[in-house]
């Protein structure tokens, strides 16, 4: 290093000493780095060094640890999820599928629908209200990123024993969080599930679905294409939200007490999200954006690397331009921050002014933070270069973060209790044989929380905002009118869509293959009975630790079952989400594949509600 630092004041020196740049990294190969604390294995760390040809900087290490985590890289599930692609029925409706922010299916030549389910289980256990609220916010941004106007949400919930004190902490908070965020966004909640089971005691499940509608011509993608295009960050300022994991990088010695840097909970602001939605839609309609990506769990790290990798180009970012809520944040914290209500836009330089004007109209912050750069002449995409006050802190191939993460073939082993479970048949249970026993059984069932009325929950959800809800609670599927369709000819009613989410962890515990099939079969039936034609499915796979071969077996079986069912039913899986590590100690939750099925009604006026309609109607039982 040169001597020029000597003249600088103490604070300046301090800051620069802490700043781990690419230049410093190249000169200090032996620096001990806390990769294990960040969840990276020895071989993964070695691979990073190989990719970079030097040790990673602190910022790079943070980015790799995030992007190569189970959550972002799907390293344990990838080899299994391929089955969906292999077995999916061919489908001409599919405009975007697995790998995109959300799957998109065509409804007519002009109109498309996008939907997806996602989990927010762990955050909802730590801080139920905010965890669930930001879960809704996150899935809505996925839908928005596809070019769609979000039009509804649903939620499938799993809690521990209804009488357990912790359930009394978690359930009201989760429900108020979903209610607060969804209602405030103006998205009707058109259905979901609530199930109590002791297996979820330390691991409640909060899976949120959002659905949106778009003109097919407005479909957006995340590729940061067009060398010279401007990278714009839209929405909330960036704070120290959810940077707990990487705070280890902030302490000079890793034993430092990092209490100041403890994981900080993300707080959702649905008001800003609403403004984000309206401004993005206005920008799409005016043709102002080339590419767009929502900022979710992995914040800027994910958005920057994925957009650049998708275009196989490079990107240059001046990170200090990111508007901060806390001026003391360091570059790795800015990159890792999970602050909510943010989107990354790729904009042609001639349109930047228009983008800023739309943002200003809606009162949303918009800041140009970088540019798209060319691919390397040698091929393999470009470089992602991130500067912090003029010093380079990241210089890596974006594809190495986004696409080349580790892939594991985790060991799989059938659980030992399979034979026991198989032998323990329901037929062997005692049956009520007298009137009194029958009465007792019925009363017992009526009293179980799982069959009890859910109005305490559902009345906290606005199911009619937007004015297009044609069916919702207590029906088994939600039905929405697609506004503006069918208006010209009064004989042709408006189109509708139907959605249902279902899952049964107990069935899946007994037999994950069949249990997953039952989940999709139930959602499929619920959609069909409204009069809709099922056309697509999305799933959220909630399981224990992938490092447990028994859990991995459950997972593989469930995926296989789901993929086979999709092939038979003729509906493709268009996207979904995997949530692993739902376990307390060595005990995993019931394997819980949750499936959402989407259907179309060619005339929504003909939707069939579930109740008996008229006196004297004939009741017929179909099927076995």
């Amino acid at each position: 290093m040169t001597g020029k630092h000597e003249a600088a004041d103490v604070e300046q020196v301090d800051q620069e000493l802490n700043l781990d740049t690419v230049e410093i990294a190249a000169k200090t190969p032996d620096e001990v780095q806390p990769y294990a604390e960040l969840g990276l294995r020895d071989d993964e760390y070695a691979k990073i060094r190989e990719i970079l040809g030097r040790r990673p900087t602190g910022s790079e290490l943070a980015m790799y640890s995030i992007m190569w985590s189970e959550h972002c890289s799907y390293k344990s599930s990838k080899v299994h999820l391929r089955k969906f692609g292999e077995k999916n029925p061919t489908n001409t409706r599919m405009l975007a599928g697995i790998g995109e922010n959300a799957g998109v299916v065509a409804i007519t030549d002009e109109l498309a629908v996008t939907f997806k389910v996602e989990s927010h289980n762990h955050p909802s256990y730590i801080e139920p209200h905010q965890g669930a609220a930001t879960g809704v916010g996150g899935i809505v941004r996925d839908i928005l990123a596809m070019g769609a106007r979000p039009i509804a949400v649903m939620d499938t919930l799993r809690f521990g024993d209804a009488e357990h004190p912790d359930t009394k902490r978690v359930l009201p908070g989760v429900v108020s969080g979903i209610s607060f965020y969804g209602n405030c966004l103006g998205l009707p909640n058109i259905g979901g599930e609530v199930v109590f089971d002791a297996s979820y005691q330390g691991n409640p499940l909060v899976n949120a679905l959002s659905v949106g509608v778009l003109p097919a011509s407005r479909l957006q993608n995340k590729a940061a294409s067009g060398v010279g295009n401007v990278v714009v960050l839209l929405g909330q300022k960036t704070g120290k939200d959810g940077i707990g994991g990487v705070s280890v990088l902030a302490s000079a010695t890793f034993e430092d007490d990092a209490t100041d840097n403890r994981p900080s909970v993300q707080v959702g602001d649905p008001f800003v999200e609403k403004l984000l939605i309206e401004s993005c839609l206005e920008m799409y309609d005016a043709g102002l954006v080339v590419g767009i990506q929502d900022l979710g769990g992995a914040g800027l790290t994910c958005a920057l690397s994925e957009t650049a990798a998708a275009a196989e180009l490079g990107m240059y970012v001046d990170l200090e331009r990111v508007p901060l809520r806390d001026a003391t944040m360091e570059p790795h914290e800015v990159l890792a921050s999970e602050s909510q209500e943010r989107m990354l836009l790729i904009v042609n330089p001639s349109k930047v002014e228009d983008v800023l004007a739309v943002a200003e109209k809606w009162g949303v912050l918009a800041t140009a933070i970088g540019t798209v750069t060319a691919a390397s002449p040698e091929g393999g995409g470009g470089r992602l270069i991130i500067n912090w006050h003029g010093q380079t802190v990241v210089d890596c191939p974006p594809g190495s973060l986004a696409d080349d993460g580790p892939v594991y073939h985790r060991p799989i082993k059938e659980p030992n209790d399979r034979a026991l479970i198989a032998a323990d048949r329901a037929e062997t249970l005692p049956r009520p044989s007298t009137d009194a026993e029958l009465r007792e059984t019925v009363l017992k069932m009526a009293a179980t929380p799982n069959l009890a009325d859910k109005t305490w929950i559902t009345e906290q959800y606005d199911d009619m905002v937007g004015g297009n809800t044609a069916l919702s609670m207590p029906d088994d599927a939600g039905v929405l009118r697609l506004d503006g369709t069918g208006a010209v000819d009064p004989n042709i009613g408006p189109l509708g869509i139907a959605l249902s989410t279902d899952g049964n962890g107990r069935f899946a515990r007994l037999d994950p293959y069949t249990g997953a099939q039952l989940a999709i079969a139930e959602a499929y039936r619920n959609v069909a009975v409204t009069g809709a034609t099922p056309i697509a499915a999305s799933d959220c796979l909630n399981f224990g630790s992938p490092e447990d071969p028994h859990v991995m077996w459950q997972f593989a079986q469930a995926v296989e079952g789901l993929a086979d069912a999709c092939a038979q039913l003729g509906v493709p899986i268009t996207g979904g989400n995997v949530s692993f590590y739902n376990q307390t100690g060595m005990t995993a939750i019931h394997p819980t594949p949750v499936v959402a099925v989407l259907g179309v009604l060619d005339d929504v006026r003909r939707r069939v509600p579930m109740g008996f309609a008229n006196d004297g109607d004939v009741i017929i039982l179909l099927g076995e």
């Binding site: 008001f271 959800y461 009118r481």
Partner: protein, 230 residues
């Protein structure tokens, strides 16, 4: 010429398009108005729709009251322009002092949505002439801050002058004082209510069609002849 009815969009308004749809179904022309502009674009009446303007932070309607559009609207309302505030719109009218009282957090502290039976206590306002006095109607209610509160003196005055327009029947969803669901100003041109008439205008999506009467009432009040219910 059909009546032109303005619907204001604030940042965070949610039922603005629903209100426009209801205006259209009632036979008038909806005119979108923007919170940031003072112009009322020559409309014959204005609806402040439901939603969470400015996130409903602090108190519902407290921040929206300072929007530029409210400057002109407050004067116009005092001059007799018919103004309907629904839910968040009602909160804004109270915070703007166009209507007395205030809407506070529900006594049970939760957001609550349900189909609500109401009695029309005053069918002489600009928005209720198509109802019979004492008529019972069903309109959805959905809010977290819908509990109407005013001091005893104000409440007595409202009752005495017949300015309670709607009252909750079959259970009060929020703990509102004296079961008040909606009130009017002395002149009867400004009406605010917590339930959502714009969500009870179509058989496909609503629990009833009872909400339509409020929109056809104001059209009649404006002396227009637009065909209702088309």
């Amino acid at each position: 010429m059909t009546a032109r009815i303005g619907v204001v969009t604030f940042p965070g308004s949610l039922d603005d398009r629903d209100a426009q749809r209801a205006v259209r179904l009632a036979g008038a022309t909806p005119v979108p108005l923007w919170h940031g502009e003072t112009a009322l674009r020559g409309v014959d009446a204005v609806i402040l729709p439901g939603g969470f303007s400015y996130g409903d932070y602090l108190r519902g309607g407290a921040i929206a009251r300072f929007a530029p559009v409210m400057e002109t609207l407050i004067d116009a309302a005092k001059g007799g322009l018919p103004v309907l505030g629904i839910c968040n719109g009602f909160q804004i009218l109270c915070e703007s002092h166009l209507l007395p009282g205030v809407l506070t957090r529900n006594a049970h502290m939760r957001f609550r949505r349900r189909s609500q039976r109401l009695r029309v206590e005053n069918s002489a306002t600009a928005f209720t002439s198509h109802f019979d006095p004492g008529q019972e109607i069903v309109i959805p209610v959905k809010n977290g801050e819908g509990r109407y509160v005013a001091d005893e003196h104000t409440l007595d005055e409202l009752e005495g002058e017949g300015r309670v327009v709607f009252r909750y029947l079959d259970g009060n969803p929020s703990g509102a004082l004296r079961d008040i669901a909606g009130v009017t100003n002395a002149a009867g041109n400004v009406v605010g209510l917590m339930p959502h008439p714009e969500h009870a205008v179509e058989a496909l999506t609503g629990a009833s069609l009872d909400g339509l009467g409020m929109f056809t009432s104001v059209i009649a009040h404006l002396g227009q002849t637009a065909a209702a219910g088309s």
